[in-house]
């Protein structure tokens, strides 16, 4: 395929990025999905919406988040100049709130009265419960029973914020099943409910809408890097669960040919073991959760469970725009094991005094691989998508120590 003259033009009017994306949902949901598309288009065209969102991002979320020159990591890796985009410093501790703030403001404009969400690690659930508390909306968060067990602090946080956390025991009781259950709730409560999806997946317009809300990350990096170094960054690295923090960082730079981008999937115990969450590097195209994209699945088209030490990367799919960028070869995609992520987690904590989320540690681990092979004037940005306080029990267990 010839390379398009812009990589930022998608999706088309049918919600497609090349062969990916679309609206593969039950008829009951179609009118709602179309209504959402119209409402989002109207909000996007209204400067009042941008102003309102900007106000809350600045005064409530705490944006812009810093772009921090990580001197000790730079020295340790011995190559490219490492910058950290500090999404961990946002209110609630991750990039997820950039999106939930955008979506809840849209829900309010649409006159919706009830919010539902799915969550894996609990970060998106917390970010949703937070904005629901702020705007006094009832909130139901679906979470796999397995994830509830391994992310207890976030479950309690959501409850404190007033959300109802509904355990999902269907299927394999993980994030994919939580998404199914949220879709089932939506089908049964079409009149008053707004579904806040947590990543760049789902039926159109979600992948484009969530991307737009997360693009604040890349837009800030562009400004901040110009201020710090007077030019564009050379290399961008971000972890990929569904792909929202990566898309938010990459998208504003897609049409800058000099900028290299690397998305880092979770290789779990190793791609060869089959126990991983690498939909692009270890999966194949299929249709799930309203969109066509790369999935982890059997020969017979049954979805298989992902595995990663990081609950936020533990998803057997990936946003459709990433699937397209993968096929186009505009973005490189690699996978990093649990073990390498743990090592990067330790390193960042010790050298920079920053405890990264295990998700973000995957991006750091790949930066550690990449940086030594790059010249010293290469400007490499790692998206530090979240902070790691939520992960300390998991890390203690993996290292075989008491927390």
């Amino acid at each position: 395929m010839a390379s398009p003259n812009t990589y930022r033009g998608g999706p088309d009017e049918r919600g497609r990025f090349g062969a990916y994306g679309g609206r593969y949902v039950a008829e009951t949901l179609m009118p709602l999905v179309l209504e959402l598309e119209r409402a989002y288009a109207a909000a996007k065209a209204d400067p009042g919406f941008a102003a309102e969102l900007g106000y809350y991002l600045e005064n409530y979320v705490g944006r812009p988040s810093p772009l921090f020159f990580a001197e000790r990591l730079t020295r340790q890796f011995g190559g490219a100049k490492i910058y950290l985009k500090r999404e961990d410093l946002n209110h609630t501790g991750a990039h997820k709130i950039n999106n939930t703030m955008g979506q809840i403001l849209l829900a309010r404009r649409m006159g919706k009265r009830r919010i539902i969400a799915e969550t894996g690690a609990g970060q998106h659930g917390v970010a949703t419960a937070t904005v629901c508390a702020l705007f006094d909306m009832p909130c139901v968060v679906y979470m796999g029973a397995t994830d509830i067990e391994r992310q207890k602090p976030n479950v309690f946080r959501m409850k404190l914020l007033g959300a109802e956390v509904r355990p999902v025991t269907s299927g394999t009781a993980t994030l994919k099943d939580a998404l199914n259950e949220a879709l089932r709730d939506w089908v049964a409560n079409v009149e008053d409910t707004f579904y806040i999806i947590g990543t760049v997946a789902g039926p159109h317009p979600y992948p484009a809408m969530v991307r737009d809300f997360q693009c604040v990350i890349g837009e800030e990096v562009r400004r901040q890097m110009r201020q710090a170094e007077g030019r564009l960054p050379d290399t961008l690295v971000a972890c990929i669960g569904g792909g929202s923090n990566a898309m938010g960082l990459f998208h504003p730079f897609l049409d800058e040919p000099s900028v290299r981008m690397v998305g880092v999937e979770a290789a779990g115990l190793g791609l060869e073991t089959g126990k991983h969450a690498a939909s692009l590097t270890g999966g194949s195209p299929g249709v799930l959760h309203g969109n066509k994209t790369y999935l982890l699945q059997t020969e017979d088209g049954q979805i298989v469970d992902a595995h990663s030490i990081s609950a936020g990367l533990d998803y057997p799919g990936i946003g459709p725009e990433h699937a397209w960028l993968f096929d186009q070869k505009r973005v490189e995609y690699v996978a990093v094991t649990d073990r390498a992520a743990l090592e990067a987690f330790r390193l960042c904590t010790r050298l920079e005094g920053i405890i990264p989320a295990l998700e973000s540690a995957h991006a750091l681990a790949h930066a550690a691989e990449l940086a030594p092979r790059l010249p010293k004037d290469n400007l490499l940005v790692v998206n530090l998508s979240g902070r790691g306080d939520k992960d300390i029990d998991t890390v203690a267990k993996a290292l075989g120590v008491a927390p």
């Binding site: 049918r14 679309g22 609206r23 593969y24 949902v25 039950a26 008829e27 009951t28 949901l29 179609m30 009118p31 709602l32 269907s170 299927g171 994919k176 099943d177 199914n180 879709l183 089932r184 089908v187 049964a188 079409v190 194949s284 195209p285 299929g286 249709v287 799930l288 959760h289 309203g290 066509k292 999935l295 699945q297 020969e299 017979d300 088209g301 049954q302 979805i303 298989v304």
Partner: protein
């Protein structure tokens, strides 16, 4: 739109029902639930028990429009080793013995997409499948499976729902063949029942826009509920209630008890009586 000879089996069946002056019973079971052999015995006996059409569920790991009953049925079937290829084999063996009862495959797109659309349509046609209900393929994606299926002579049966407004209905009906499946509630399978008044209105609305037979499903569990639907629609679809009968006759290890087949067929007979008696007296 006509879908050639396979839709003829559906057309013929609804014509027979019409001349008999009654509505039909559409029975749904998930293929391979609880195991392939038990399912095949059930399938073979459904027509004699009173099922006028049969919907065969293609199990999928992530059935987003189904409630707990049919979700569990799908997982039982997958655990017992059911696949799309084996589902088509089972339908083929049924068709060799029964040339009259229409078979509609119901499920989700991903297993078909993986199998390959052209290869799937060939195999389905050869097995004697008459129609497809694919929950997650709205008219916006007609080019992927609906139009190729129609070209092959397989009916693509669309779901119309309470949220399908008048503006959208023509698009939903455009390439629908065989019959229209009206989903009586905004919700998933196996939950609440619809009230008779709203179903009557909805069927009347569909009849104003299409000459196809209208089947109504979701939430129908008892002979009385089936009879109420049979008074206004051309067929009543019963799924979760039959699947629940399957799950109620499993032993602790999840295998079929000897009385499972009889229990399910008894339920089908009772529902068929409800449907057949609806417009009498």
């Amino acid at each position: 739109m006509s879908a050639g000879d396979a839709a003829d089996r559906i057309e013929r069946r609804f014509a027979e029902l019409k001349s008999a002056g009654r509505a039909g019973l559409v029975a749904y079971l998930t293929c391979g639930d609880p195991d392939a052999a038990t399912f095949e015995r059930l399938l073979a006996a459904l027509p004699a028990a009173g099922a006028d059409l049969v919907e065969v569920g293609m199990p999928f790991s992530d059935p987003m429009a189904d409630g707990p009953s049919i979700q569990a049925a799908g997982l039982r079937a997958l655990r017992s080793g059911m696949t799309l290829a084996r589902t088509l084999d089972i339908v083929g063996r049924f068709r060799a013995r029964d040339a009259a009862t229409p078979i509609v495959l119901m499920g989700y797109y991903n297993p078909i997409f993986r199998y390959g659309v052209a290869r799937f349509l060939d195999a389905a046609k050869k097995a004697g499948v008459d129609g497809l209900i694919i929950v997650d393929l709205p008219p916006e994606h007609d080019d992927e499976l609906c139009l190729p299926a129609l070209a092959k002579g397989l009916a693509f049966i669309r779901l119309a729902t309470p949220t399908t407004d008048d503006r959208r209905l023509p698009a939903v009906l455009k390439h629908t063949a065989g019959f229209i499946y009206y989903v009586a509630i905004a919700g998933i399978t196996g939950t609440k029942a619809a009230d008779a008044g709203s179903v009557t209105q909805a069927v009347a609305r569909l009849r104003r826009q299409s000459r196809l037979p209208v089947a109504v499903g979701f939430g129908i569990r008892t002979p009385e509920q089936a009879a109420a639907v049979a008074r206004v629609a051309d067929a009543a679809v019963v799924g979760s209630a039959l699947v629940d009968e399957v799950s109620a006759h499993l032993d602790g290890a999840g295998t079929a008890r000897p009385d499972l087949v009889d229990a399910v067929l008894r339920r089908v007979r009772a529902l068929a009586e409800g449907v057949r008696g609806a417009r009498r007296g």
